[in-house]
């Protein structure tokens, strides 16, 4: 459809155009002035390492380009395993920071309850963060109805990483989509000298399998209820999940319990993606970043991902997800710069930095053409299915530790009797938080 403008209307349009242009110019100048007003040191407390830390530094550089009067200072905690202890120690010993990187919803609530986090609700509205991040991300960054976190990356934790050469060696041309196909391929993998699944159970990554099986058998609502202890850990849903996992173990999925307990998640990732000694691994999307930057692998060519196989229990369209968010600490002294950063980190500039680093951005302004095939598949899976945050990250205090240790005990002895003992032990600990 074409529209012919009359002279008066054309004059009005020219005036409107001028006014509009002037307004935009003023807005831009105002924006520059706003950027110039934001200044000083902006302190970030994080625990990232390696290529993830490089990505955070790229975000810092991008922000300082937009806000040249701001200077980032980073307090980087060196940790091994779960970083929460080191973060608590740093905060309790008086470290002051404006921003903080978090990935555990239960920890966010702990910090918020202790009065250490700023409510980002007013900022969310005034900076129109909602234009870039959907309400679901707002909900994901909230505790007790208040927003405390602005998500900058997320991962599909129901994706199984594999090395293409390993699958070729085992004669697997098509990735399994059902549970039976998946288990059926174990024989091919074993015959090729490959242990079908790499489970690094030294600290925590074995729980990924429990969680994906649980969600596919019971759905996200039940998983959410379990995390909130609305249903007990001795519930049949938990026991049946462990029995299903025991079937995998008995089918020779993962080597011996000793082998699993001797491996950390990064050993398992190396074994799957580099050495090709194991077939599949469920792990966070940060491995996609590590595979490219550290191992020099080509996404979608040397390795790829396959969604967790359908189990036919009516919950096949579910994904376990994780996310990382920036929060504001009340101990920080530069709230203006922190606010500006949180608004900026959802923009196209920031989202594209995340995407270029081989990670998924929650921003709807991201240029999705920057995604490689692995991240594309992961973001598609998360977008089209029901999602549930990683269960372990939702558990409070030392319940998460008990959960991990008891699942290690399950790996040592996956018998029905031990399943009863393991679930009873987690339930006993969970009751102490009621």
């Amino acid at each position: 459809m074409t529209t012919k403008l009359v002279p008066q209307a054309a004059a009005m349009t020219r005036r409107a155009l001028m006014v509009g242009t002037s307004a935009i110019a003023m807005l831009l100048m105002g924006g520059q002035s706003f950027a110039a007003d934001i200044s000083g040191d902006l302190v970030l407390l994080d625990w990232a390492a390696g290529s993830e830390q490089d990505m955070i530094k790229a975000l810092e550089d991008g922000f300082m380009k937009a806000y040249p009067n701001v200077h980032f200072k980073e307090i980087n905690l060196t940790t091994q395993g779960d970083a929460r202890g080191a973060i608590r120690a740093a905060l309790q010993s008086g470290e002051k920071a404006d921003l903080f990187v978090n990935t555990w919803p239960a920890f966010r609530k702990e910090l918020a309850d202790a009065g250490m986090l700023r409510d980002l609700g007013p900022l969310w509205d005034s900076a129109k963060i909602g234009d870039n991040l959907s309400d679901s991300w707002k909900a994901l960054g909230s505790s007790d109805g208040k927003v405390y976190g602005v998500t900058y990356t997320f991962g599909d934790r129901s994706a199984m990483f594999y090395k293409t050469a390993t699958m070729q060696k085992a004669g697997i041309d098509k990735q399994p989509t059902t549970w039976d196909e998946f288990v059926g391929n174990f024989k091919k993998l074993s015959a090729a000298g490959v242990t079908p699944i790499g489970i690094g159970a030294k600290v925590w990554s074995h729980t990924e399998w429990f969680e994906s099986i649980y969600e596919h058998l019971n759905g996200v609502q039940k998983a959410s209820d379990l995390a909130a202890h609305k249903i007990p850990w001795t519930d049949d849903s938990v026991k049946n999940t462990l029995k299903k996992w025991a079937e995998l173990l008995k089918a020779g999925c993962c080597g011996t319990a000793e082998q699993m307990l001797a491996m950390d998640w990064n050993d398992a990732a190396d074994s799957v993606l580099v050495a090709g000694n194991h077939g599949y691994q469920i792990i966070g999307m940060w491995v996609n970043n590590i595979a490219q930057t550290t191992d020099g692998l080509k996404e979608g060519v040397d390795y790829s991902i396959q969604q967790f196989p359908a189990m036919g229990a009516g919950h096949d369209n579910v994904s376990s997800v994780d996310s990382k968010e920036f929060s504001e600490l009340t101990s920080g002294s530069n709230q203006a710069a922190a606010d500006a950063f949180l608004a900026w980190v959802t923009t196209a500039d920031a989202a594209n930095i995340v995407a270029k680093a081989g990670l998924a951005s929650p921003s709807n302004k991201v240029d999705s053409s920057l995604y490689g095939p692995v991240i594309k598949a992961a973001t598609d899976a998360v977008a089209k299915g029901d999602v549930q945050f990683v269960l372990g990250d939702l558990l409070p205090g030392d319940l998460v530790d008990e959960y991990r240790v008891q699942l290690q005990k399950f790996l040592q002895d996956p018998s029905d009797a031990n399943i009863d003992a393991v679930t009873a032990a987690i339930e006993a600990k969970a009751k102490t938080f009621d």
């Binding site: 395993g81 779960d82 608590r88 702990e110 250490m116 000793e258 307990l261 491996m263 030392d398 290690q408």
Partner: protein, 320 residues
Amino acid sequence: MSQVALTSRGPDERESSQVRGGGRELTPLRRWIADAPAAYLLLLPVLALFAFAVVYPLIQTIILSFWDIKGLGKPKFYGFGNFVTLAQDANFRQAVVTTLTWTTCTTALSVGMGWAMALLCSMAPRQTLIPRVLIFAAFGVSEAVTGYVWIGIFRGDAGGLLNSLLGALGLGGLAHPWLGDAQTATWCLIAAYSWAQTGLPLLVIYAATQAISRNVIEAAYVDGASPLAIMRYIIAPLSMPGVRVALFINLLGSLRAFDTIYVLTGGGPVRSTETIGFFMYRESFTQFKLGYGAAATLILLAAVLIVSIPAIIQRTRTTT
């Protein structure tokens, strides 16, 4: 220190201090008061440092142990609750057993190996200079670094040095994920830690052997004693003061050991290699149950004091 200050004076000086104050003889109490300030003045910096670095944290730890602290939540007074919970905690009981096994074995192994090597080295001091330096150098390397070396040795796959050695010797069937098995992980840790701690006993005991009078050894030669007999009946018994010192140092060190366990097993598998020290770290810094961790710390402190006080008293009596 005050004793040194008093005894360092000569008889004339002591007499003059006794008659200070216009020729009047001082009573013992007045003499102590007159002499004490100098001694305490000399001690003051050390006492201040000790109070700041040891006494204050200790008092804080004791206070902390009476509180229930979970994460960043508000602390609640808990009385002796943490100690009661510790007594009922199966993981803590396991840590006590592991600590006893760990401490006994690492001390016995490291001092035993150091002693044996020191005796051998004492027979040929010049020829063994380089090995002595190399073995002692291992003691100087960070436990975290040696820990990573041992991870390479104990790796569960065929790439692990121990497993590949077994394979090369035709014993591939014995290959094992050493650090993933609760039965073998503790012994792997003991081996790794003992190896790193052998250098100090070697040095201390070797020094003790060098203090043995040459006349005694030469007399034994003249009497026809064999080198083995000299080692067994002369050098070994006379090196015992060095052995006692090495035992004391290594025992205390192994009670406090942390780095090797942290790097190699992280306390696992399934918390089977946690010593009391590691249990304290886990509860205090991973779980952030500071009160509970403080209670475990006090138990560890008691163990250290039980070991060290008799040894210090014995050493003090020997030297005075």
